[in-house]
């Protein structure tokens, strides 16, 4: 009965959804095309991570299941390289430091430029987007000498944050610029100033609370970028998560822990960026 009703209703709903300017026959063909495309691309995108997940759950014998590889993440230690867990810690700490420095560097500067020195904004934008056109590998070549100087003072891999901030600039800038563009900075700050607020409290108590979402977006993008960074850490001989995974793959190509850690890292980045895209969309819907 239900089937009959729904069958009877189909033409009407389909009719209603047909955009003007397109015949329904063509529309049906288009829908077939769309679902074929979605299925094929969906498979292409989902299969590699799934394969990695399956491989990470491989038991001692082929075709069996086991969670050993996932348990190993906490304790794995390859020969001649630092323990896996320390590399994970370093990557997470780097993410926190990079986020903090990026925000401290960008947010006040962007607000200040918006309020007081508009004429510099084009140059500022150019500088922020410049890292997109200078490949990380080029940056490393030039950074070598500079990092050699820094290394005289400290050998910690955490020093990588100096350059990670540069890598994060374009993404953080875009996220923050979108947030700043959505609020009337001038009016807000003039209101606050005329009530006697200092520039500092204009920024921290008036403008920043109004761009929370943009700041969150900048943080998520920066975190995802730092956790996925390989080139610079590897070539400056520091051991972050990605460089460690690479070393493990060179020593023991079939180590199960390789695939469990890689899957975990991938999932983590996925979750971060999904939060980002859904949080961003919800806000736009409300505004």
């Amino acid at each position: 009965m239900a089937a009959v009703t729904s069958l009877g209703e189909t033409p009407i709903t389909a009719q209603a959804r047909v955009p003007r300017g397109m015949q329904s026959r063509r529309r049906r063909r288009l829908n077939v095309f769309r679902y074929v495309v979605f299925t094929l691309f969906g498979l292409f995108f989902i299969l590699p991570p799934l394969a990695m997940l399956r491989f990470s759950l491989e038991g001692a014998k082929l075709g069996t299941w086991s969670v050993t590889a996932w348990r190993q993440i906490a304790s794995y230690q390859g020969s001649g390289i630092p323990p896996l867990l320390s590399a994970i810690e370093i990557s997470l700490e780097l993410a926190v430091i990079t986020c903090a420095v990026t925000l401290v560097l960008l947010v006040p500067t962007m607000i200040w430029i918006r309020l007081r020195v508009q004429w510099i904004s084009r140059t500022f934008e150019f500088l922020c987007l410049l890292p997109l056109t200078i490949p990380a590998i080029v940056l490393v070549v030039g950074l070598g000498p500079i990092y050699n100087k820094i290394q005289h003072f400290s050998l910690s891999a955490l020093m990588l944050f100096w350059v990670y901030v540069i890598l994060a600039l374009p993404y953080a800038y875009r996220a923050l610029a979108a947030g700043l563009g959505a609020i009337d900075v001038t009016t807000l700050s003039e209101a606050a100033r005329s009530l006697g607020a200092s520039w500092l409290s204009v920024m921290t108590r008036v403008i920043v609370p109004n761009m929370r979402q943009a700041i969150l977006n900048a943080l998520l993008l920066t975190t995802a970028l730092v956790l996925g960074e390989f080139t610079i850490a590897y070539l400056l001989l520091y051991n972050n998560l990605q460089a460690e995974l690479y070393s493990i793959s060179r020593n023991t190509p079939n180590a199960g822990v390789l695939f469990s850690t890689a899957t975990a890292a991938l999932l983590f980045a996925f979750v971060l960026l999904l939060i980002l895209s859904f949080a961003g969309r919800r806000r736009r819907g409300r505004g």
Partner: protein, 288 residues
């Protein structure tokens, strides 16, 4: 009226109250200093060192070494890979973008694919090479591709994985910009679907498509982690050779090889990105 008055009175005292001793632009100095030290200085070092001999004397003629067969080989390798993956990524991405754009603008499928594209376009790196290795590599779960370790094909497939989503992100706004009225107008004049795409849709999208392809090209050119994790014994592309040159001293005798290759990359990316910016401007004329 009231708002305008507030703006006037609010703006004037702040401007008048500005002290001349510390100009407002000083507020941007920390940022400018940071960028100068960690972005402009390194880039400057690359340019300067590329034009110097290892002993420190100037040798602008080094630039001609970019035509050296050895150096040229790496650039040809890079261009092959970038061309393959940018064209493949652009075509497939455009098809996917069209499929996404022609659906319900508030539908679940569109949201899902847009969010996923945002994630996957960022998703290069070491882990991606591992994922494809276990999927189609020598011990692959899906099948064993004999060409997995052949130069442009295996790695080209892997690069396509992040090039297609990037294309969707960049190209979707252009397709969304096609107005229904244009299609209606051409159909009411008796145009077939082919004629519509040949004479209306295609020419409108062409600059945006070319621009996006260039962006994908630059994206593939700078990628290093994935290809290094895929195969680190043989250097196929410029970034790999830069890595090799940084860790060893083999290669051209009188040249800072890493710096020279890096300079070559900067020049290439600059050309590609300039062309991209010009095409984007051209595309924006109709599609807004």
């Amino acid at each position: 009226m009231a708002a305008a008055a507030t703006t006037e009175t609010g703006a004037r005292p702040s401007r008048a109250g500005r002290r001349r001793s510390i100009p407002a632009v000083a507020g941007t100095f920390p940022f400018l200093g940071y960028v100068a030290v960690f972005l402009l200085w390194p880039t400057g070092i690359v340019v300067v060192d590329a034009l110097k001999n290892p002993n420190g004397s100037w040798a602008v003629s080094n630039i001609t070494e970019l035509g050296n067969p050895l150096v040229r080989g790496y650039f040809i390798g890079s261009f092959k890979l970038c061309l393959l993956t940018s064209v493949l990524g652009a075509v497939l991405g455009a098809v996917l973008a069209y499929a996404v754009a022609s659906g319900n603008p508030d539908g679940v499928v569109r949201k899902l694919y847009l969010s996923a594209s945002g994630v996957l376009a960022q998703n290069g790196g070491v882990t991606l090479a591992f994922a494809f290795l276990v999927l189609v590599g020598p011990v692959g779960l899906l099948f064993h591709a004999s060409w997995f370790y052949q130069f442009p094909w295996g790695i080209g497939l892997i690069y396509t994985y992040f090039q297609v989503p990037l294309m969707v992100l960049v190209f979707l706004p252009a397709i969304d910009g096609l107005k229904v009225q244009w299609r209606e107008a051409s159909e009411s004049l008796g145009a077939s679907a082919w004629q519509y795409w040949r004479y209306v849709g295609g020419p409108l999208l062409a600059p945006a498509f070319l621009g996006a392809t260039l962006l994908l090209f630059a994206n593939a050119l700078s990628a290093f982690a994935t290809i290094e994790a895929w195969e680190n014994q043989i250097a196929y592309v410029v970034p790999q050779q830069i890595s090799t040159a940084l860790s060893s001293e083999v290669g051209l005798s009188n040249v800072n090889v890493a710096d020279l290759l890096a300079l070559g990359m900067v020049i290439t990316v600059a050309i590609v990105m300039t062309a991209y910016a010009l095409l984007q401007r051209r595309a924006a004329r109709w599609l807004r």
